[in-house]
Every structure is written in C-alpha cells, then in structure tokens.
Amino acid sequence: MNGKTSNPKAWLFVLPVVALVAFNALIPLMTVVNYSVQETFGDNVFFWEGVKWFEQVLHSDRFHASLGRQMTFTAIILAIEVPLGIAIALAMPRRGVWVSVCLVLMALPLLIPWNVVGAMWNIFALPDIGLLGRMINGLGIDYNFTQQPIAAWFTTILMDVWHWTSLVVLLCYAGLRSIPDAYYQAAKIDGASGWAVFRHIQLPKMKRVLTIAILLRFMDSFMIYTEPFVLTGGGPGNTTTFLSIDLVKIALGQFDLGPAAAMSLIYFLIVLLLCWVFYTLMMRGEQQ
C-alpha cells in the first residue's frame, strides 16, 4: 500500500463495480435479513418475530449437526489436498513440453460444471456400473456409497480431492517456478539435503501462494453444494448433508423462510469471520 497517491476521484473508477455488486449483494441480503425476523403463512403476510429464528437455529440440533459435518469435511479435504498438492508440485518437471501437458491435464477438472462433476462421480462410483465401485468391490471390500455412510464420505472426499487438488498444485508450482536456479545451485554447493532445500528455499517461496490456495479451498469447500448434492443427495440419511444442502432443503424444500434466512445469515457470518482471519494473515504476509 505504499507509493500510492491520494485521489478522491478514484471513487468514480470503482463506482460501476460498487453499483453492480451492491445490486446483487445488498438487495438480496436485505431480503434475507427481512425474512429472518418475520413469520409468514403465505399470501405475503408477515409478522414480526424478532430474534426468534436466530435462537431457534442456534439451538437446533439439526444446525449443529450440519455445521459439524461441514467443518469435518472442510478440515479433511484441507488436510489431504494441501500436502498432496505441494508434493505433486514439487515432483513436476521444471521445463520442457511435459510441463504444458501436465498443466492442461491437471487444470481440466477445474473447468467441468459442478453438477457434471457430481454426475460423473456418481456413475464412476456406482457399485454395479461404475469403474471405481467395481474395483473396490473387486478387492473384496463391500462398498456402496448410496447406502453406507462411510462409503458416501469416502466418495465425496475422493471427488473433492479429484476436483480441487489441481488448484493447490498449480499455485504451488507457480510459486516454485519463481525460484531462481542460482538458489538450487547454491544449495547443492553447500550440500543441503532435500528437506533443507524444501524447508528453507521452497516453502518460504510458496508461502504466499499457499495462503491463497488455503483461503480459496476453505471458502469453496465451506460453500460446497452442487457436487455432493448430485453425488449423494445428502444421504444416506443426512450423513453427507452439508450446510448449503441443508439450507436449500429448508428454504426451497420446506419453504420455512424465517429459519432458512436466519441460518443463511449465521452461515454467512461464519464464512466471513473465518475469511477475515485468513485475509488479515495474508495481507500481513504480503507486507513483510
């Protein structure tokens, strides 16, 4: 933030952005706030309810269960995707034609519409017609993700690892490429071990991109909806019903607008709070 000139007219530059985003963000947000404090029995008749829905949501076991599943899911996929992404980025070729081939193939899952990802994994993992389902059952393990909660979790996590690990790989790879060859030569002359090179040269260079990778993976996995919804429909039972799936069930399925709106706001605030923490850490890292 240094070397910038003060210029109040800069507001004119950001005005179109603010107008468009505000139209999309503030009006729906106010609608949600409006619902969250009222009760309706249809016909557009609303009654003031105060913080009743917030209390109800905060005390409901259903919300706690979805939140718990959501946090577990996010924690697991971060614990798998981040180290795996770093490892693959480290093993990638540094130059040559294979670099382009690797990058294009690895980026492919990122550009598939999310419901296609879910549908694709559904037919890939089905025990009767899917390759993965057949293979696992062929190993003698009883596997059916439409009926067994553990298999459903395993499949959902594997799908997310498949879908998003490349993001971490690409970012780490970009960070690694910014290291001049001279650093590696110096390390070689000093007789540094592979671990020392990683710890003192590669990891510090990846710090910034890794923070972004973790931030993006955190946000997106916390908001995940389409892929698990198409894959498992939140089941078997409620075992893979994450926050967004639960929210849509309440809002559009049961049309309980008040509780759904209150839950939306609580959900949004949790994401906001955690992202603010990440963002502050990231900006602090950038200033150093």
Binding site: M1, S6, N7, P8, A10, W11, F13, P16, V17, V18, L20, V21, N24, A25, I27, P28, T31, V32, I88, A91, P93, C102, L103, V104, L105, L108, P109, L111, I112, P113, N115, V116, A119, M120, I123, L132, R134, V169, L170, L171, A174, G175, R177, R208, V209, I212, M219, M223, Y225, V230, L243, S244, L247, V248, A251, L252, A260, Y267, V271, L272
Partner: protein, 268 residues
C-alpha cells in the same frame, strides 16, 4: 538416479487418477443406455454416436449450450470491463474507504450461493429479467467482479508507476494512456481475468438454475431435468457431460502458461 525415476511417477499417477472418471464418462457416452445398464465393459462393445447425434439435432439439448455460452460471455465482458478501472484505482490510488471497499468486494466472493438463491429469484423476477441470460450474467457478477478486480489489481500492481508518470509527461491524457499504453501492458492479466470469469460462470449451476426456467435454461440444468423425467438415459447424460468439458479444455490451452498466476490472483 532412483530419485529421478520416482519423481515423474507422482504426477503421472495423479494425472491417471484425474483421467479415470473422465474416461469413464467418455466410455459411457459411446454406449447405449441398455449396454451401460446390462454389461460392464472397459470400452464400448456396441460403439454408437447416437447420443451425440441426438444432442446436436434436438433443440432442447443444443439450446442449453447456447444459453450457457451466452450468459457466460455476457458475464465475462461485463465483469472484466467494469473491473479494469476499479482495479486500476485500487492499485494506484488511496481514497476514502479503499481498504474496506476491497474487503467488502471480497466478501461477495465468499457468500455461499445457497444463501442468495431465493432472494435472487425474487429480485430478478421483480425487475422482469427472470429466465433471461442477462439475469444469470448479472447474478454471476456477484462473485466474478470481485475475482476480476482481485486478479487485475495483482497484475496492475506489478507494473511500475513510472510508466504512468512518463506517459503524462509525454502529454498523454488519462484515458488515452489507459487504453493505448496501460491495457496492452497488462494484456496477459486481462486474458487471465477473462478466463477465470468464464470458468466460474461456466461451472456454477445453483444460481443459473434458480434464475431460469425454459427460455434461458443452461445446459447443466437441462441435464438434471432429463435425468429425472426420462428415467436415467445414462448414455445421453454422459454425452452431454462430455460436451460440457470441451469449452473448458479449449480455453485452458490458451492460458496454460498464465493459469497459475491467475489462481494466485496475479501475485506470483
């Protein structure tokens, strides 16, 4: 020596893992639904292109692709156009509330679409845009504009301020400088920002589905409908799914050397 051998193994295995489900989809798209359900085989025994023929000849199918591409392109153009001056302001100037505004923009990238699905439906119905590509294009601005601003700001901050100052000394007006000199300098950044807007608009379904019914239905939603009404026409579904991968694969090729820089929001 052994180290070097093991080293290429990890990316190779990873890529094989990535390709397996895609191969399975491709494999199914060349089978009849009957064969998919009754025989398990690693490649199509009765190779057929009927599924693809059906998609390319049936308007309810191919219109889905047009609808998707329409709102994705409108969204990309709007997002990048408005993000350019804003990103310039963030990268060059200090102004009242700049840091808060930047964070507020980012919060919209963090807003779970599920939170906004119902209010969006009501908002766009109220302004009479429901079931038009414009509605989806505008709704996707919610997360694409912040992203474009973030990426472009990163690229612009990498351009030394001396460039701006030299241009003014040479007598360039601001807009002439901005369009003739500055934009070509960050052309790669603009390409990357467009790619990311394209990508996130292309893969999103929840809002796109909520804001359309018949006329502007995206391909991804066409797929879900067909799956539920016509039983499971798996072969057709697989072919439609395979075709949704094509535009992505096409654009990745052009930005392959910048894609990581884009994910790093221009900050590598």
């Amino acid at each position: 020596m052994t180290m070097a051998k093991v080293k290429w193994l990890a990316p190779t295995l990873y890529i094989v893992f990535l390709m397996l489900p895609i191969y399975w989809l491709l494999n199914m798209s060349f089978k009849t639904t009957n064969e998919i359900l009754n025989t398990f085989s690693l490649w199509p025994n009765e190779f057929t292109t009927d599924n693809y023929v059906k998609i390319f000849t049936d308007p309810t199918w191919y219109n889905g692709y047009f609808n998707s591409l329409t709102y994705v392109i409108i969204n990309t153009v709007i997002s990048v156009t408005v993000a350019l001056p804003a990103a310039y302001a963030f990268s060059r100037f200090r102004f009242l509330g700049d840091k808060h505004l930047f964070f507020w923009l980012l919060t919209n990238r963090m807003a779970p679409p599920a939170v906004f699905a119902l209010p969006f439906f009501q908002l766009y119905s109220a302004v009479g845009l429901f079931d038009t590509p414009i509605a989806v294009a505008l709704a996707h601005c919610l997360f694409n504009i912040p992203l474009a601003v973030w990426i472009l700001e990163g690229f612009m901050s990498g351009v030394p301020k001396q460039l701006d100052e030299t241009a003014y000394v040479d007598g360039y007006s601001f807009w002439r400088f901005f369009i003739r000199i500055f934009l070509p300098t960050i052309a790669a950044g603009i390409g990357v920002a467009m790619f990311f807007c394209f990508m996130f608009s292309w893969v999103e379904l929840l809002l796109a589905k909520t804001l359309t019914s018949v006329a502007a239905k995206p391909i991804a939603a066409t797929m879900t409908r067909t799956a539920s009404t016509a039983g499971y026409e798996l072969g057709l579904l697989a072919a439609a799914g395979t075709l949704t991968i094509v535009p992505g694969a096409f654009v990745i090729y052009f930005v392959r050397n910048y894609i990581a820089k884009g994910f790093a929001l221009g900050r590598v």
